[in-house]
């Protein structure tokens, strides 16, 4: 049975509770008592459309035998104030009136100040001057309420001294009972009339107390028998969806920020150094009062001033060369556009992808919050917040350096009371539409290149949060309990957090379903663990990094200074540990890394000499709590997938942004520190050594106090990483995303790999095939309508020659589905370049001493045609089967 505390005015609200929460969608148990035996109870809960018999939500309790009370419960499903009406039927079959509350709570305005009076502790029942705190703004003629007594203010004796008529609303008639009032009692300005609207049942205005003319009887002003209910709002639920969760690297205009910026052309990736081919750039000139869509042809080292948006980039000379040649590119070389010289990349072009456009739908993911919902039907979504994943470079809305990803939703006014059920996304993530489009690109120093010259795919965490309009339907004042803090503050949807205490223990009670105690604790040292609560680091992109793999013992968490690895080798003990727990089971964790690779070069896989061009040796293992044969909870190893690793390269975790995902173990025990029997990772491993961050209070023994699903994530690295070049390897944040408000996008480099250097010994064959509709009339003549073009395939092959890698390369491309391109030179000097994927490869190992042969079937996605000087001839990318239609462009 839930018990509620009644506050002033007979109001039941969460702000007035100390133990039992009072929320929507939670049962309210009640007991109704009568003064004579009755047979039936009728309760209009006031949450129908109105109180008329047709629309009222009336509960009927029929007693088997006449009695003096009944018990039952009700669940409120809307937000607001409810004034139930109650009636009974007596043993003679007569129905009573409807009894309901008088409620005129008013607005909290000031407090009594009796400190100068004698005695200084209270106002007596007969005093007619009330001294209040300064700045109250109460004027003559107002009606005020102190505790349960109403008073009419007749005049102001001085600024803070009110002359009043006690027990009166109108200054003449007495109501209620005179009371004594202690110092600091709250003073409310009231309307002076009943705020309980039952006009659909009784259109006349009724005074408090009994009457002899109405079907409705209003409760006493001061002796409340009929309650008023104000169930607190439950949080809305953010549902973030995306139309596609795999995108190609496109044009990331968000790098430019909120104002027009200069764009630098960086062709230093090419072997010609300072003289790669020119590029054509279509952009929006963001100069003041000069907004125009323009096209310029620019060269390496050029700067385009005041760019608002890059719309399209195209290489002028498409011809591939095999040696460094001015105004030409070799296979794999790229030209970047960056925000200023040395800034973040906006996009890149290469012969494998010579045209990029901002409007290409394959580059764009739509992040949509429109399916979010509120809990109460009379509340709507009022604000949308979308973090679209531009965490390192920032965006036009949000700046990585100065804005946190999320912040605590708490107030310090009353013991760190939580206002929401979790953190709130930074205010700058707010969008004015329920959906936005996101486009990203790879960054040369942050994202590693693969051995085929394409960037390794990376994952991008996007999150959403919504705010509801419950602020407009909120009535919970909360003042009469211990503070002015309302118990009805929740208006933001839940956002994942790492707070162990503030969203669990609150001054105002909450249902268990709305409380969560999550942790992310870390230590850099296994043997003397100096645990740190990583709540702040995990909220913030401004902090450079918060962890490194095993052996990084010399640099504090969250430091912006360089981290110097040391300690043991990754093949021995892990030195860094992360304890993560969540209320519900989770099965995937996103890890945002921060790395500093040598730009434009694939990291070497040979770790003989480790530096910033090497795949960093990191190894991760994970443990989860589970019961052993004796029933004790111990840590068991967990198998997982790791997309932060370089595919099959050993110990290559954390080299790119990605996820750790696993099948949630069936024997995953919900646990807390006190229920874990063993901490086998090190001596006194569960206790903060106290030497550094938490001063002894950040260990699992202190932070992990609530039952939750936990993982111990262990990381090891190479102790030889003692140079200063690999300094920036680390993790920016890690967050579970098994929830409806997160989406992970996978970004893939759509740069195609050149096949032109491979040895081909078989004919290259392909068919250009249009699609036609042939309509033949009665006379046998036909109208031929071109209705489209077909794609197709290219067939070619080679010979497996000793000392040549072509066969192996082709095999790798086929196995991995690597996008490739192949040039065919025609006799007039024109070229056709085929882009696609090698679908099949057949190998023929013949008898005798003939050389093995292989044949390839390449599916063509699109082609491009250019002349002998590299100038494009086709209408951009076209189908193998020919031209079909005009393409949309920003500038025609």
């Amino acid at each position: 049975m839930t018990e509620f505390l009644v506050t002033d005015q007979g109001i039941y609200q969460n702000g007035g509770q100390s133990t039992n929460p009072f929320f929507m969608f939670e049962k309210v148990h009640f007991r109704l008592e009568t003064t004579e035996p009755v047979t039936e109870f009728y309760i209009d809960w006031d949450d129908g459309d109105d109180n008329s018999p047709e629309k009222a939500n009336i509960q009927h309790v029929k007693l088997e035998e006449p009695g003096f009370f009944c018990t039952s419960f009700h669940v409120y499903t809307k937000h607001g104030t409810y004034h139930p009406l109650v009636r009974v039927k007596n043993t003679d079959g007569f129905l009573s009136k409807w009894y309901t509350a008088y409620q005129d709570e008013g607005t909290y305005t000031t407090k009594i100040d009796t400190s100068a009076e004698s005695p200084a502790t209270h106002i007596s029942t007969t005093d007619t001057t009330i001294t209040v705190d300064a700045g109250h703004g109460i004027t003559a003629g107002k009606v005020i309420r102190i505790d349960e007594e109403y008073m009419k203010v007749t005049s102001l004796a001085s600024t803070n001294v009110l002359n009043v008529v006690r027990q009166s609303i109108d200054g003449t008639n007495l109501v209620g009972t005179a009371q004594e009032h202690v110092d600091d009692s709250f003073v409310y300005v009231v309307a002076g009339s009943n705020q309980n609207d039952f006009s659909s049942l009784e259109p006349r205005t009724l005074d408090a107390g009994q009457n002899e003319f109405s079907l409705v009887s209003v409760d006493s002003l001061s002796d409340h028998r009929i309650p008023v209910f104000r169930p607190a709002n439950k949080p809305p639920i953010a549902v973030l969806k995306t139309d596609r969760n795999r995108i190609f690297s496109g044009i990331n205009n968000e790098v430019l920020g909120s104002a027009a910026a200069d764009v630098y052309i960086d062709g230093s990736d090419s072997n010609t150094g300072s003289n790669p081919p020119k590029i054509k750039v279509v952009y929006i000139d963001g100069s003041t009062n000069k907004s125009q869509t323009k096209e310029v042809t620019v060269d390496h080292g050029d700067t385009i001033s005041d760019v608002d948006k890059i719309l399209r980039v195209e290489i002028v000379n498409l011809k591939e060369v095999t040696t460094a040649t001015d105004n030409s590119l070799q296979a794999g070389e790229r030209i970047y556009l960056t925000k200023g010289a040395g800034g973040f990349a906006i996009c890149n072009v290469s012969l494998g992808q010579p045209i990029v456009e901002a409007s290409n739908p394959q580059n764009i993911a739509t992040l949509d919050l429109s399916e979010s919902r509120t809990k109460a039907s009379n509340v709507s979504i009022s604000e949308y917040y979308i973090d679209d994943g531009h965490h390192t470079s920032g965006s036009s809305r949000w700046t990585a350096a100065s804005h946190k990803l999320q912040q605590a939703a708490i107030t310090t006014s009353v013991a760190q009371d939580s206002l929401q059920t979790g953190d709130t996304l930074h205010a700058n993530f707010r969008t004015y539409y329920s959906s936005i489009e996101a486009q990203h690109t790879f960054q040369p120093e942050l994202d590693p290149l693969g051995t085929d010259g394409r960037y390794l795919s990376k994952q991008i965490l996007c999150r959403g949060q919504v705010k509801d309009s419950s602020g407009t339907t909120r009535a919970d004042s909360g003042q009469s309990y211990t503070s002015t803090l309302s118990g009805d503050t929740i208006e933001y949807s839940y956002l994942d957090h790492d707070d162990a205490t503030n969203y669990y223990t609150t001054t105002k009670p909450r249902p268990t379903s709305l409380k969560s105690s999550n942790i992310l604790l870390g230590t850099l040292d296994r043997l003397t663990p100096d645990w740190k609560d990583l709540i702040a680091e995990n909220r913030d992109m401004g902090v450079a990094k918060f962890l490194l793999g095993g052996g990084h013992t010399s640099t504090p968490f969250g430091s912006t200074t360089q981290v110097i690895p040391g300690g043991t080798n990754y093949t021995t003990d892990a030195e860094n540990y992360f304890l993560m727990s969540r209320k519900d089971k989770f099965d995937r964790i996103f890890i945002k890394t921060v790395n500093a690779y040598t730009a434009h070069a694939a990291p070497t896989l040979d770790r003989t000499t480790i530096d910033n061009s090497t795949v960093p040796p990191y190894r991760i293992s994970i443990y989860y709590p589970s019961k052993n044969q004796s029933g004790s909870i111990v840590w068991k190893p967990l198998a997982f997938k790791d997309t932060t690793a370089y595919e099959s390269v050993e110990a290559s975790s954390l080299m790119r942004d990605g996820s750790i995902s696993f099948k949630p173990p069936r024997d995953w025990e919900i646990a807390k520190h006190s229920t874990i029997s063993e901490w086998p990772f090190g001596t006194s491993f569960d206790v903060d050594s106290g030497s550094g961050y938490g001063g002894g209070t950040d260990g699992p023994d202190v932070k992990w106090r609530q039952d939750s699903y936990a993982l111990m994530i262990c990381m090891a690295t190479d102790g030889d990483m003692s140079g200063d070049t690999e300094k920036n390897i680390g993790i920016q944040f890690m967050k579970p995303y098994t929830n409806g408000h997160s989406q992970v996008l996978t970004m893939v480099d759509n740069t195609h790999v050149s096949l032109n250097s491979k040895y081909l010994t078989q004919s290259i064959t392909f068919v250009r095939n249009g699609t036609y509709n042939v309509i033949t009339n009665r006379l046998g003549k036909s109208e031929i309508r071109k209705i489209g073009a077909q794609s197709g395939s290219v067939k070619f092959g080679g010979t497996d020659l000793s000392g040549d890698t072509s066969r192996k390369d082709f095999k790798d491309y086929q196995q991995n589905g690597t996008p490739v391109y192949l040039d065919v030179e025609h006799e007039n000097g024109d070229f056709t370049r085929f882009y696609g994927v090698i679908k099949s490869m057949s190998e023929s190992h013949t008898t005798a001493k003939m050389l093995p042969k292989f044949s390839l079937d390449m599916i063509v996605s699109h082609i491009i045609e250019f002349d002998s000087s590299g100038t494009i001839l086709s209408n951009d990318y076209i189908s193998l089967g020919g031209n079909v239609d005009y393409e949309s462009r920003y500038l025609q």
Partner: protein, 357 residues
């Protein structure tokens, strides 16, 4: 794991990953009907494993890792074949629907007077379905929302009845007519939050003002499109109680004479005529029925608004290019074919009306 592999669906049965399967079909029929999933090609030696009533979870993982499953339900049928077997699962509403649902009696002694439909659902599921403390919630209630206007259970009585049938029948009476030109009805959908599947009552979204969840065009997402035009009703014949009858005509009946009959508890001609007006307005959306085969937006919910843009207005109607409502969806995955989704847009199955020509 290859970075260029696009489709990586994962299936769990009761937390055990099923690594051998040929494909699956997930059907969201809409109109408050129960979603289902059929998985084919599961290895046959699982036939003696405990499968019935176990949880089946499917992550589509099309393009990237999904945060929530595309389907969560309970297995209701196993069909062994020669070499492998198929399983059929329905979403958790199956627990409270169909012949196997535990029936409910609502009489003068035990009733839900004083509750709205939403309060009834909440109470019934809390007290009768999600009763095993500490175990997984079978039907989540986190997304349950009140209807506007509230549907009252006052006076509702029934003998042995299936709970979900009561819910469906009651919900069909709910209609938000704040804007009489765009009456909004409701349907029940299931929304997964990554941990459980939640029952939700969804009000029909406004076609014109809602920001579409997904944009489709011929260059972005659409694999094929088929559509049919149907004349919408222009008049209504309404039958009420005690011989009350009325008619409603929509303007000058611009699209010809096509009628609909309605019956209900109308006790006056005025009320009956108003009901006819609302029904005619409600059916105006159903002029264009579209079947769209797409390759993106797999996590769309039934009831979502999508935008279709057809640039080829010579071969296709310009009326296609606007917002449409998703009324059902079917996702198919085959190991050799990948994933595709067929959306039905706009066409709502007929309910209280019978068309007459």
């Amino acid at each position: 794991m290859n970075q260029d592999t696009y489709s990586k669906p994962v299936i769990y049965i009761n937390d055990t990953e099923i690594t051998e399967f040929e494909g699956f079909t997930i059907n969201h029929p809409g109109n408050s009907q129960i979603n289902s999933a059929d998985v084919k090609g599961i290895r046959k030696d699982l036939v003696d494993f405990t499968l019935m009533n176990q949880e089946l979870v499917i992550y589509l993982n099309e393009g990237s890792n999904d945060n929530i499953p595309i389907f969560r339900g309970i297995i209701i049928q196993i069909s062994p074949g020669k070499t492998n077997m198929a399983v059929k699962a329905r979403d958790p509403r199956a627990i409270i629907s169909g012949k196997n649902a535990f029936p409910i009696i609502i009489d003068d002694d035990k009733n839900y007077d004083g509750s709205t439909l939403t309060q009834f659902i909440h109470e019934f599921i809390t007290d009768n379905i999600n009763t095993d403390a500490g175990l997984t919630t079978q039907i989540g209630l986190d997304y349950l929302q009140e209807t506007n206007p509230s549907l009252l259970m006052k006076g509702f009585r029934t003998e042995l009845a299936v709970p979900y049938q009561i819910i469906q029948d009651s919900l069909r009476q709910a209609l938000n007519i704040d804007d009489i030109e765009q009456p909004k009805d409701f349907e029940i959908i299931m929304i997964d939050d990554g941990v459980k599947s939640n029952i939700a009552i969804q009000e029909k979204k406004d076609l014109e003002t809602t920001v579409p969840s997904v944009y489709y065009d011929l260059l972005d997402g659409i694999q094929s499109i088929n559509y049919t035009y149907s004349a919408v009703p222009t008049f209504a014949l309404i039958k009420g109680e005690d011989g009350v009858q009325s008619t409603y005509q929509d303007g000058n009946m611009p699209t010809g004479k096509k009628g609909v009959t309605i019956s209900g508890p109308y006790d006056s001609r005025a009320i009956a005529k108003f009901a006819g007006l609302i029904e005619i307005m409600r059916l105006q959306d159903n002029k264009l029925d579209i079947t769209l085969k797409v390759n993106k937006g797999f996590h769309l919910d039934v009831g979502s608004i999508v935008n279709v843009y057809i640039s080829d207005n010579i071969n296709d109607s310009f009326e296609l290019s606007k917002n449409h409502r998703v009324v059902s969806k079917t996702i198919s995955y085959g190991t050799g074919k990948g994933a595709s989704m067929t959306l039905k847009l706009n066409a709502k199955p007929m309910r209280i009306s019978d068309f007459i020509n």
